[in-house]
């Protein structure tokens, strides 16, 4: 972190918690829901689902369960993703303010932050911020003199990537093995301990205070393309200045990679990149002038914006090795519940080890192509294995020459 986080006084002096005063002065939950729906905010955790629409599935009225929950997905573990940590360690009150808005809207009196166990720095900043927020009356009973009560509980995870899947996360929070659940019922209707539950990503929640405080026009004016607002964009790999920046949605990939990240390190060329973490399809240098917004990346880039944290592959690093590294990760992190994932991923992983050792064959390539299909969307219980097929399928297509060279030379040609 380049600076310690703002304490609550400094945060308030910078318009912090203004949205709550605005709500307390007379915005109903229905008003807030309508505002967030109209703002066009899409979930920043990876799937890009409209946040207001997600909230609207929570049942209300006397016949619905009175206990509802908000759960923050702060289990950042997508390979190459390092944006939520920055938000929690740099601006923890922004997350709390967003949580209070979300919880108020869905009628939740309890909210859990499901935080990655390894994020000890975030534990410290969040604990301090939560204590400050209680002291100032933003949490607890009768918040800002209203009838609304909210408690926030910080929960640290015991590990495993699968906990990022929202129903697996709920099982982990309930103290169970983190296998995903069947959907429907969706968590909005029956989630944590069977009660209506909204799971929102850290960055999504951090968008809410600005929308309420400054309004929809302000928020939509921030985006440069079709999507509203800003996004945390990151770049890692062998670039000159790796990092994470908040930028308007709709800026070009080139602007992120060249202006912010400073381009490739000296002597290296850009071979390809994953635009939004390890579960996205490779994109190529020819895609650099596409805009970083949800539709453009999927329709013209054949990939997904997902977490917005780009992993850059240079021309002196082996693409087969890079995909192999990702496959080892996915194989290890499979929860083991459904067959295509539990058996398919280790098979794929083993083939990549063979390629690394110079034992790859044409037959292996065909098996890999088949596995892309067998583990693809709709064939598995959750999105983990389909996520793995994104870099695998696109890699087989874009780097076919590299795979063939491994077969022909019986070794990795990127190694001396």
């Amino acid at each position: 972190m380049s600076r310690p986080p703002l304490d609550i006084g400094a945060y308030e002096a910078n318009d912090g918690y203004q949205s709550l005063h605005k709500i307390a002065a007379g915005m109903s939950a229905a008003d807030v829901l309508e505002t967030i729906k109209s703002s066009g905010l899409k979930g920043r955790g990876g799937a890009g689902f409209p946040t207001g629409l997600k909230w609207s599935f929570v049942p209300h009225g006397e016949s619905s369960p009175q206990q509802k929950y908000l759960v923050v997905n702060a289990d950042e573990m997508e390979p190459g993703t390092f944006k939520d940590r920055l938000l929690m360690e740099g601006d923890p009150h922004l997350l709390l303010e967003g949580m209070i808005i979300s919880a108020y809207t869905i009628g939740a009196s309890k909210a859990y932050i499901f935080l990655r166990g390894e994020y000890h720095g975030s534990v410290k900043t969040l604990k301090k911020a939560i204590a400050e927020a209680y002291e100032k009356g933003y949490l607890g009973s009768n918040i800002l003199g209203t009838e609304y009560d909210l408690d926030i509980i910080l929960h640290t995870s015991a590990g495993r990537y699968i906990c990022g899947e929202e129903t697996a996360l709920l099982n982990a929070l309930e103290g169970k093995r983190a296998n995903p659940r069947a959907k429907p019922p969706f968590p909005q209707v029956s989630g944590l301990w069977g009660k209506p539950t909204i799971v929102n990503n850290v960055e999504t929640l951090c968008n809410l205070p600005g929308i309420i405080t400054y309004g929809i026009d302000w928020y939509q004016g921030l985006g440069k393309g079709a999507d509203a607002g800003t996004k945390m964009f990151g770049v890692s790999g062998r670039v000159k200045n790796p990092g994470v920046w908040e930028m308007p949605l709709g800026v070009t990939i080139r602007e992120l990679l060249e202006d912010k990240a400073g381009g490739m390190q000296d002597g290296l060329g850009l071979k390809a990149f994953l635009p939004g973490g390890g579960s996205t399809d490779f994109m190529l240098p020819e895609h650099l002038d596409l805009a970083l917004d949800y539709d453009e990346i999927s329709q013209k880039g054949g990939s997904r914006l997902a977490t917005g944290t780009m992993i850059v592959l240079d021309d002196q690093t082996c693409p087969v090795g890079m995909i192999g590294n990702l496959m080892k990760f996915f194989a290890h992190e499979s929860c083991g519940f459904c067959t295509p994932c539990r058996d398919g991923l280790p098979w794929v992983d083993a083939i990549f080890r063979d390629f690394e050792a110079g034992r790859g064959s044409e037959k292996d390539l065909n098996i890999l192509r088949e596995q892309v299909e067998y583990m693809g969307p709709g064939r598995t219980f959750c999105a983990l294995a389909p996520g793995a097929t994104a870099p695998l399928g696109s890699g087989l297509k874009y780097f076919e020459d590299d795979f063939k060279e491994h077969i022909k030379q019986k070794r990795c040609t990127y190694k001396n």
Binding site: G117, G159, E174, G237, R238, G278, I311, D314, N325
Partner: protein, 172 residues
């Protein structure tokens, strides 16, 4: 039933310490049932004991009246619960993609050679245990690893020497 021995061992539940019990009791106020508290209790006990032995597992199951097999299923699912003894310092080494691109695997080989252990192993002097971990979310400082609760960034071979010496000296 939870006081029965686990099939694979003849272990008996140990007594939980006062500190452990008090922390477990606090967790009970945060969750509506004991199953959720069970996973928290595993973390609490590990925090004090370094790992979760059969005796600890049985003690938690007994204290919270949870089926031993369920608790064992949970304990073995999550990678940050250790069901084997670990060294004084647990090294979580990031083996994910951004660190790999930044040659993290070469640094890991150097670390392994220096300590004389591979993933899943503990040094003979019980000082260090080396475990791979998925992306630590600090990719702009790759390669990275954690020792205990400390994050170490932009790892180099020289840097590894310094870090390891530092922990050796602190513990001496």
């Amino acid at each position: 039933m939870s006081s029965q021995v686990i099939a694979s061992t003849k272990s008996r539940a140990r007594f939980l310490t006062e500190a452990e019990v008090s922390e477990i009791e606090h967790e009970k106020t945060l969750y509506p049932d004991n199953q959720a508290v069970g996973l928290e209790a595993l973390k609490i006990v590990q925090n004090y004991q370094g790992w979760v032995s059969d005796e600890s597992l049985l003690a938690i199951a007994e204290y919270l009246d949870l089926p031993v097999a369920d608790l064992e299923g949970v304990a073995t699912f999550f990678n940050l619960i250790y069901r084997q003894p670990v060294g004084k310092n647990v090294i979580l080494y990031c083996d994910s993609v951004s660190c790999w691109i930044c040659r993290g695997d070469e640094i890991k080989d150097y670390l392994s050679e220096k300590l004389g252990i591979d993933y899943g192993q503990t040094t003979a002097d019980k000082e260090f245990t080396l475990i791979p971990v998925p992306c630590l979310g600090d990719c702009n400082n790759a390669p990275v690893m954690m020792v205990g609760q400390d994050l170490h960034r932009n790892l180099t071979k020289d840097g590894i020497d310094e870090i390891i010496d530092q922990y050796r000296n602190t513990n001496a």
